[in-house]
Symmetry: C2
Subunit: 330 residues, 2 copies
């Protein structure tokens, strides 16, 4: 088992102020490792980076056959609770004949500034629809209605979650050794960084196959790339980088330093985990890898803002920079 | 030169999800290391953890002879812009015959929720007085008025900053190899973790000496412990832990994973740096070290909340925990 390696450096003036270590794997559609940093066998929680896997049963079951591309993008989203997200999830809930109280994701203050300030000005509390996972949960509720399952759709032994677990283990090619409860109360299954990259390569090569799961994977990755603003939101890395790549890759962040990428033209999947959980580092590494794969222009402002951002202080003065560590600069 | 060591673990369910590495030093008043983790010679930026050092010239010069304990606590503070902070800094500014425009720290959205929401409801922008460093800058302005210096008191070659650098090098016992520009635009000088702990031991043993600098150090550490709510604010680690220790230690956080402690009864100084910059880790480590030194009750709610906090999700369900790594559990 290899150690994590230095992946990201944070400089202030001429001193290296912080370092982020981690693991990353680039995997092809046969499941073989193309390139790796650190330990491909490290066990991680994918967190929200595996939402497109969790959404597979929604389509495979037929429950989501009527859903729009926008709804499919939201089912894979960690959105920031902006009006473009909550309006669509709200309409979806009404289509299901359900209300905010049927969610099990919990209320979350929206990341979107306009939505957050509107709540504060109205002296209102956030609802469950504002939770960044409410699109995923609308997908769970859609599947659950189709199955006729109980209201506790987030429980590990509920059919919705058991179907999600099967899809997860089959696409990662691994038996998950453990699960944790995610921020949104859904189970999150552990896998290796290699396994997560393997699952992404399954999505990346889905257009080569016509089986039910591959068809579902193709629909989901296509929806993510068609509506990058629904997968995250304005100013967010997933949205900005997918827009910059213009259909050449689907990417997804996960809490505590996870990021994945699906690169259809190369039938390649990418997964990475920053050991300390820092988002500034996971964003830097995914951008560096996408540049190295030739699908992200290193000169695009969105690439620069994530891969080699400058650090500015409260007066807007540049005081430092983030950059990929030597292992990623080759 | 030793490598950083694992200091903090973050568990979700039964899987170790994140690890934070770093360096820590406990130093006595002769400058000798009592205990250390990682590399005592690692060069770091202390960031806001050295504000009590930066405030020494304010008292040594005589400029701050008239200041209250509250003002001295604010001069060492990274406050959260609550009314208790901005009211006092505002009055201080008026005493100086100056206005918000004389600050060079830059405007910052206050960390205090009431203050932040009040600005949002008023559709108002934050001012420089809301900057977490405005107390330190009020101290700089007080010293500058005494010196009759130019308005650009934050510049590296300004007498205010040159006096600060001398105090920093003399208390750390090191020639600083580099400086960076901090979030508040003031220079921040690099030192080793050992050097920073040595400076804290100087503060911790100040009551043994009667020289000008030691007298200043004693006044500052006493003010910090007398007004813990002015050094940070409600819900913050510095405030909560200093209250829990009830005068047995002064502590101070710094951005990007730094924390220091001054323990007068043991004439001991502590300094630590989390390599990745995570605050959740620096708080855990400082609490663990203070417990090990016998000045923080491990069963106090404030100690538990920083050293072994549970992680709760959006529905309030416990999903994981933070804990000191093995190296700190001995």
């Amino acid at each position: 088992m290899a150690n994590p390696v230095d992946l990201v450096e944070v400089w202030r003036g001429e001193l290296l102020e912080c370092v982020h270590q981690g693991h990353a794997v680039i995997c092809d559609d046969t499941g073989e490792i193309v390139n790796a940093w650190g330990d491909p066998a490290a066990q991680i929680f994918p967190r929200s980076s595996c939402k497109m896997i969790q959404a597979l049963p929604l389509l495979e079951s037929g429950a989501g056959a009527h859903l729009t591309q926008e709804q499919l993008a939201l089912s894979c989203a960690s959105h920031q609770g902006a009006a473009i997200h909550t309006d669509r999830v709200g309409a979806w809930l009404r289509d299901l004949g359900l209300t905010d109280a049927d969610f099990r994701c919990g209320p979350q203050v929206p990341g979107d500034q306009d939505a957050r300030h509107a709540l504060i000005r109205a002296q209102a509390e956030p609802c469950q629809i504002h939770n960044n996972c409410s699109g995923k949960h609308a997908g769970f509720l859609t599947l659950n209605k189709h199955l006729g399952g109980g209201a506790d759709y987030e429980k590990i032994d509920h059919p919705v979650q058991q179907m999600g677990k099967a899809a997860f283990e089959e696409t990662t090619g691994e038996t998950s050794p453990a699960f944790g409860i995610d921020g949104c109360s859904a189970p999150n299954h552990a896998c290796t960084v290699h396994g997560l990259a393997r699952a992404m390569a399954f999505f990346a090569s889905a257009h080569d196959r016509s089986d039910l799961r591959s068809t579902a994977a193709l629909k989901l990755r296509t929806a993510m790339m068609a509506y990058p603003e629904l997968v995250a939101g304005e100013t967010r890395a997933c949205t900005d980088l997918m827009r910059a790549m213009n259909g050449r890759a689907a990417i997804k962040t996960g809490a505590d330093g996870v990021f994945v990428a699906i690169v259809p033209e190369k039938r390649i999947g990418v997964a990475l985990k920053i050991r300390d959980g820092a988002t500034r580092a996971s964003e830097c590494v995914i951008a560096a890898i996408l540049v190295s794969l030739g699908v992200l222009d290193p000169n695009h402002p969105a690439a620069i803002a994530r891969m080699t951002p400058t650090l500015k202080n409260w007066r807007g003065i540049t005081v430092g920079r983030v950059q990929p560590a030597a292992a990623l600069r080759v």
